[in-house]
């Protein structure tokens, strides 16, 4: 089983105006902190721990950036879906 298995990752674009700023990052981290295993956000060659606001911020994702959310444990599938929904919905901003 590889990391690229579609079930375990989602490629999405940042749609909200502000991009991944402190507030949006905090919302992702709040969800990711409920996971069983690590949740990663990947942008190009960089990846960040989705449960850390600061790590997410270091990715510097502005509006339009394509990111991949990745889980390591199938049990976290609901978390993956919830984060995807949050990002695609523009964080309700």
């Amino acid at each position: 089983m590889t990391n690229s298995e579609p079930d375990l990752s989602r490629e999405i674009a940042i749609v909200n105006e502000l991009g991944l700023h402190a507030r949006s990052a905090a919302k992702i981290a709040a969800i990711a902190n409920r996971s069983k295993d690590s949740i990663w956000i990947q942008k190009g060659n960089h990846q960040a721990d989705a449960s850390s606001i600061l790590d997410i911020l270091t990715l510097a994702c502005e509006k339009g950036t394509k990111i991949t959310i990745r889980i390591e444990n199938k049990a976290d599938f609901k978390i993956l879906e919830a984060i995807t929904e949050l990002v695609e919905g523009g964080f309700g901003e």
Binding site: A29, I53, A60
Partner: protein, 587 residues
């Protein structure tokens, strides 16, 4: 007493507008600079981690308490909530604990090390927003550090006199404790425009200058200082004449702000619920920002002559388009009414103010000139249609005196659209077309002209001049320039009635629209929109809110019975004097 100190000006970043003058109150954030480092024995490590966790928990509880106590109107609760989340962030919390374990060091040292690394990461980022997030990390870390080393924080909530806070930096927690009855403004060494300190100052509407670098080093508590949040200057020990000048500026600014704040952005709705669009007249694109600040509902008259002045050639289409597009984009979705060239362009270019025409007001100008110079006109029409692709544009043709002119103008507009289509440039032909009603013949022929346009815009300045045959610039007759002359009022009424019958809109963009005591009359006549100098908008909006449109309609019946300008004015004073004077002078 020390001897009289010399005035000193330091410059920072204007984070929140306004001016305040008062005594400085220094807030030190002491105790964080010197962090001791010592080894922790292996069997004490778990206790050390417990100590760190307790410090974090305490910081968390403190922040929660502040969030709860924060006044509702303070919009920065989310900043504090982010800080609460940061306290437990892996990169901060997790790594500090790891560092304690791996290096067998005390928590203070581990925290300091982790924070320094984080700050480095953020400060190398190019995005200014992200760059400033290192300040969040510092503030969060400081609140933990305070609990670890046990220094007592300055209690801003306990300040008991009117002061200006002077601090190295203020945390959101500290700023949210600011008691507005005590704190007039604040200045800090650190911070930028997008820092929380600036955001909070703006939401509190108190003057603030940040990023001063050495304010805490140059100012002692109880020093007299002036904070000019408009220019980003702080004046320490102001000289007497500086003090007087700033007292005046402060009063002016507060007056201005009072007018602006008092609901100028809210719509102008009469007592009986009729909403009127209150628009602004502009000449330069730069005026758009003032117009928005004054609460304008759009641009009712964008004069386009300026670009033709002080040059030897005509501006080309792209040059015009760039300026129009700027204005249209900034105003979007509010309407921008662009009036086509309203002068004799040849004379503007030649800078000839001494006209060869014996009677330039009745000469070759505005639509007459444009129709005679199709290429000049076409460039402008194309630029306007192209700008219309970026927002809501209306086009207004000036000095229409016969229906032929409006038909010709329309034909040329269609041609301009066709040529743009051919050139494959983006444009929008679906815009409202208006005729300026400022020549008496256009008033008489309003019903015919109405068939060819979507709206009328009455230019009262020229209409009065032409109808009463008065040159306002001629001192001998200037006093006869009477907007309230019954002839003028009947003309306005006629144009408005025709517009209603023909189902088109009628606007007014002359000086009459910006004169408070004319408003009952203009409402009674049934104007759909008023356009004026931006700075008069807040006041006119207030006047409209105090009026009842139904009443002004019956008032009009009385107005129409008047036979002179004087008696009309007396009638307005008698009927609306109290409302108007209250509106105008109650401050």
């Amino acid at each position: 007493m020390e001897k009289e100190a010399k005035q000193k000006i330091i410059k920072g970043i204007n984070a929140s507008p306004g001016i305040c003058i008062g005594k400085a109150y220094l807030v030190d954030s002491e105790g964080v600079q010197v962090v001791p480092k010592y080894r922790i024995r292996a069997d004490d490590l778990s206790n050390e981690i417990k100590r760190f966790k307790a410090a974090v928990k305490k910081a968390r509880d403190e922040l929660h308490k502040i969030v709860e106590k924060s006044p509702e109107e303070l919009q920065n609760a989310h900043i504090l909530e982010t800080h609460i989340a940061l306290l437990k962030d892996k990169m901060l919390y997790g790594r500090t604990i790891e560092t304690v374990k791996q290096e067998s060091v005390n928590a203070e040292w581990a925290l300091k090390k982790v924070v320094s690394n984080l700050i480095e990461v953020f400060q190398t980022m190019t995005d200014p927003y992200l760059k400033e997030r290192s300040a969040d990390v510092v503030q969060v870390a400081e609140s933990i550090m305070h609990n670890l080393v046990g220094t007592k924080k300055v209690d801003i909530a306990a300040i008991d006199k009117r002061v200006i806070l002077v601090a190295h930096d203020l945390t959101p927690a500290e700023t949210s404790q600011i008691n507005l009855e005590r704190v007039m403004g604040f200045i800090t060494d650190r911070g930028g425009k997008a820092s929380h300190t600036g955001i909070i100052a703006r939401s509190l509407e108190i003057p603030a200058v940040v990023g001063l670098k050495n304010a805490t080093a140059s100012i002692r508590s109880d020093d007299l200082i002036i904070v000019d949040g408009n220019s980003g200057r702080v004046i320490i020990h102001p000289a007497e004449n500086t003090l007087i000048r700033y007292e005046e500026r402060k009063i002016d600014y507060e007056k201005y702000k009072a007018v602006i704040n008092r609901e100028s952005k809210a719509p102008a709705e009469s007592k009986d619920g009729v909403r009127l669009a209150v628009m602004g007249n502009i000449e330069l694109p730069e005026e758009v920002f003032a117009l928005i600040n004054y609460g304008g509902d759009g641009i009712g008259l964008y004069r386009t002559e300026f670009q033709y002045f002080n040059r030897t050639d005509f501006p080309d289409e792209n040059e015009l388009f760039d300026k129009y597009k700027d204005v249209v984009e900034v105003m979007h979705p509010k309407p921008v009414t662009i009036r086509t060239l309203d002068i004799n362009g040849d004379k503007a270019l030649a800078n000839q103010f001494n006209s060869e025409e014996t009677n330039p007001a009745l000469g070759l100008r505005a639509i007459r000139y444009c129709l005679k110079k199709p290429q000049v006109f076409k460039d402008q029409l194309r630029a306007i249609l192209r700008a219309a692709a970026y927002g809501k544009v209306r086009i207004l043709f000036p000095m229409i005196s016969t229906v032929f002119e409006i038909r010709e103008a329309r034909r040329m507009l269609d041609e301009a659209a066709e040529s743009l289509e051919k050139d494959g440039l983006p444009y929008n032909r679906d815009i409202e077309i208006g005729a300026m009603i400022e020549v008496p013949s256009a008033v008489i022929m309003a019903d015919v002209i109405a068939e060819n346009v979507d709206f009328f815009s009455i230019g009262t300045n020229d209409l009065i001049q032409y109808a009463l045959a008065i040159d306002r610039g001629n001192e001998q007759v200037a006093h006869l320039f009477q907007p309230l002359d019954p002839a003028i009022i009947r003309m306005l009424k006629h144009v408005a009635d025709v517009a209603r019958q023909k189902g088109i809109k009628v606007f007014i963009c002359g000086e009459m629209a910006g004169t408070p005591h004319h408003i009952p009359l203009l409402l009674g006549i049934g104007m759909d929109e008023l356009s004026m100098n931006p700075q008069t908008i807040p006041n006119i909006k207030r006047v409209i809110r105090s009026l009842n449109v139904e009443d002004t309609r019956s008032f009009m019946k009385e107005v129409l019975k008047q036979t002179t300008a004087k008696s009309t004015f007396e009638l307005i004073k008698e009927t609306y004097g109290s409302i108007l004077s209250k509106q105008l002078y109650s401050g």
